[in-house]
């Protein structure tokens, strides 16, 4: 039987080796899964992990990677701050939707005015929308001690209902001949989140994500608030002794995640998405939870993890279309990644010992 022994110091090696090991295990077990579905596992894994980067049409797929990674990174960084502090916002998807709806509303309200300030105002409105949506669980938690996991998660479904209302009702394109969905921002230059460099997929969302990653890293490692976040998550009583106000921390972390998720939603709606539609929500808010953990809740790790996850999206849909794999198998694949990551994470703080081996050593 194996035995786990707590390490005196967390292992730095395993801190960074576990994501790699988790990816490797996902490839192996995922390969078995695809083999059971009747596909050649090596080809599937190559299609998912290799072709989007270096295969045919890689230029197009690389741009897709950036487009998918940007919102994931933006949301995951906010989530990671909360998770570090022990505040479990599971409803980033809802904050993402509301941010997109509120931000888009601002732009559509002034259509077709052309002004340079419209897009920045929409970004701010998007951030505000996400922030306000996140304040609901924050206030309920600090006032009535409700569980933020449940409240934020349930608010996702409320947000989806509002999104449907927006796409079919108050944001519907008046010139859309009755079709659901808002005006398309690609034909509204002042409100459009265009590629900063043509055909690279790099829009304002990608730039913001990278800037936020650096800022979050500095905040966590050098700033007093970052210290409070880490302390509250690791030792809540020591945090109170230090002088952390739990209420302020909850409001800060949930608000930050909400604002970042809202911004991600707005960038998506005005850029790659193009418009507010009923099925605008694509699960970025949930996938970002995996990204946050895959990146070790570390902002720089999250940047890498965001690209990794984007790869499974892009490669996954490539595998879906070229190899006729069911869409669900890709989701299983992503789920596996989180499962293995959390599973092997134990190696960071524990080492595996075989007691029988130790006993033999004692006899020698």
């Amino acid at each position: 039987m194996l035995r786990l022994e707590k390490r005196p110091n967390p292992s730095v090696f395993w801190l960074w080796a576990t994501p790699v090991l988790a990816v490797a295990l996902t490839m192996v077990v995922g390969g078995l899964l695809f083999a059971a579905l009747g596909s050649n596992p090596v080809t599937v894994i190559r299609t998912i992990f290799w072709d989007p980067l270096f295969g045919a049409n890689a230029g197009y797929f690389r741009a897709q990677l950036l487009i998918k990674a940007a919102p994931l990174i933006l949301i995951a960084i906010g989530l990671a701050m909360g998770f570090r502090a022990g505040i479990w916002n599971i409803g980033a998807e809802g904050q993402y939707i509301i941010g997109a709806v509120v931000g888009a509303s601002v732009g559509l309200a002034v259509y077709p005015t052309e002004n340079r300030l419209i897009f920045p105002a929409m970004v701010l409105a998007g951030a505000f929308g996400g922030w306000a949506w996140a304040m609901i669980p924050a206030i309920l938690k600090t006032r009535f001690n409700t569980n933020e996991i449940l409240v934020s998660l349930m608010l996702v479904y409320v947000a989806e209902a509002i999104l449907a209302k927006a796409a079919l009702g108050f944001l519907r394109n008046p010139e859309g001949m009755g079709f659901p969905g808002s005006r398309n921002f690609s034909s509204y230059p002042a409100a459009r989140n265009f590629d900063l460099i043509e055909r690279t997929g790099l829009h304002w969302g990608g730039v913001t994500a990278l800037a936020v990653a650096v800022a979050a890293y500095v905040l966590l490692t050098r700033h007093g608030i970052g210290f409070q976040i880490r302390l509250a998550g690791q030792a809540p009583r020591a945090a109170r002794f230090h002088g952390v106000s739990p209420t302020r921390l909850v409001v800060f972390c949930l608000g930050l995640t909400g604002a970042l998720a809202g911004m991600a939603g707005l960038f998506e709606a005005t850029g790659p998405g193009g418009q507010i539609t009923e099925n605008f929500a694509s699960g970025y808010g949930f996938t970002a939870i995996i990204v946050a953990f895959l990146g070790r809740l570390n902002p720089l790790g999250i940047v890498l993890a965001g690209f990794m996850m984007a790869l499974t999206y892009v490669g996954g849909s490539l595998a879906e279309s070229t190899m006729n794999l069911p869409a669900a198998s890709i989701q299983v694949f992503q789920g596996m990644l989180l499962f293995f990551l959390l599973g092997v994470d134990v190696l960071t703080n524990y080492r595996v010992r075989r007691p029988s081996g130790a006993a033999k050593g004692a006899e020698a």
Partner: protein, 490 residues
Amino acid sequence: MIANSDVSFTIAPGEIHALLGENGAGKSTLVKMIYGLVRPDQGRMFLHGEPYLPAKPAEARRLGVAMVFQHFSLFEALSVAENVALGMENPPKLRDLAARIRAVSAEYGLPLDPGRRVGDLSAGERQRVEIVRCLLQDPNLLIMDEPTSVLTPQEVEILFHTLRKLAQQGTAILYISHKLEEIRALCDTATILRRGRVVATCTPRERSAREMAELMVGASLSAPERTSAPRGEVALAVTDLSLASPIPFGTPLRGVSFTLSEGEVLGVAGVAGNGQDELLLALSGELRSPAGAIRLMGRPVGALGPQARRAAGLVAAPEDRYGHAAAPDMSLIENAYLTAGVRMGLTRRGFIDWPKTRAFTEAVIRDYDVRTPGPDVAARALSGGNLQKFLMGRELDQGAKVIVINQPTWGVDAAAAGAIRQKILDCAARGAAVLVISQDLDELLEIADSFTVLNEGRLSAPRPVRGLQRDEIGLMMGGAHGMEEATIAT
């Protein structure tokens, strides 16, 4: 790290054998091996002449080895009998078990009602639950890890009576403590460990406490020196402080009032669980009170949080090192910033000055002889005593006007405890007002100028230590139990 190296000792049936040593000397590792929690890398153990190498505690218990831990593992919401049943492999029916608990507790003079809820018991009574739990297994060898640290002098007497009776019936007892006078009163033999090795075996009755302490430390000891500073102005005034406890099964503070002057050391005695933790929380700022209930140099601070109080000149050191005073998984540098950030100017415009924090951490490590590979290791990697030295240094080195400490030397070896007490006195000599909450009476009598007792959340009027008799103190503390029963009856 090698915790134990070539340790040999024997213990005979009916013998009470003391295991003495500094913190980190390897006492805990040694008894963990005997109890099957840790495997030795080398060497052999024999129980009744048979080779003995338990793979897990259950096996050790089956072979007649029982252990009472320093920290109890009891469920407060469950009854005594339920708690005992939880620790057994095949528990009998609760009613039969209750009868056996009554029989055993009567036989050994350990009054215990199996039906009471553990949350309502005093620390001494909780320890009895643990002891009775062990006695139900008819052990041949009973290991006791620092059993008297939570007991009143009267409760210690009851415990010693029980242990002597057990020894007469042939049970071997391995007794770990660093209260040397107790060991002299109770134990037949003592094995002294230093840095994992046996340095001496002696008969405690024939040695003085000082001699044994010196064997433990490997150096000669000096008693703390006091230079009594002139009393200055009132630094801390607490007036009629009443607060509900935030801790489940905690004790509320009831009308606590006292004043503390510059240069004074006020000792607060009392059995654990009588409001000590709550008093510390109220003074550190973790629990808020009406502003005027706590005044620091005349300024009302009751409504301020911990950081604002530190800035105003009040620092506090809680008892629990792992998780309260320190974040176990954070480095010593980060733990230094935890409380010293405000007073030592370690923050600039919200950003932490890590180089300056490192310098402060290194200074504390040096001044307090903290044994650590460096300031970057996690706090949990340090032994209890070393971490305590670090945490004491962190508070005492901030030049604060008022210093509040709960259990300054809990679980710390004699040499380190002496050093910590000396530093506390040094702080008082430079004019700091110090409040020391402790369950170690000897400690309080050694360093305090005035003395008071916390009973059921009420603080007695402070009295000068000079001229105070030990029996009086015992009665003051023991009074808690009389009152406790009275409150339950109403």
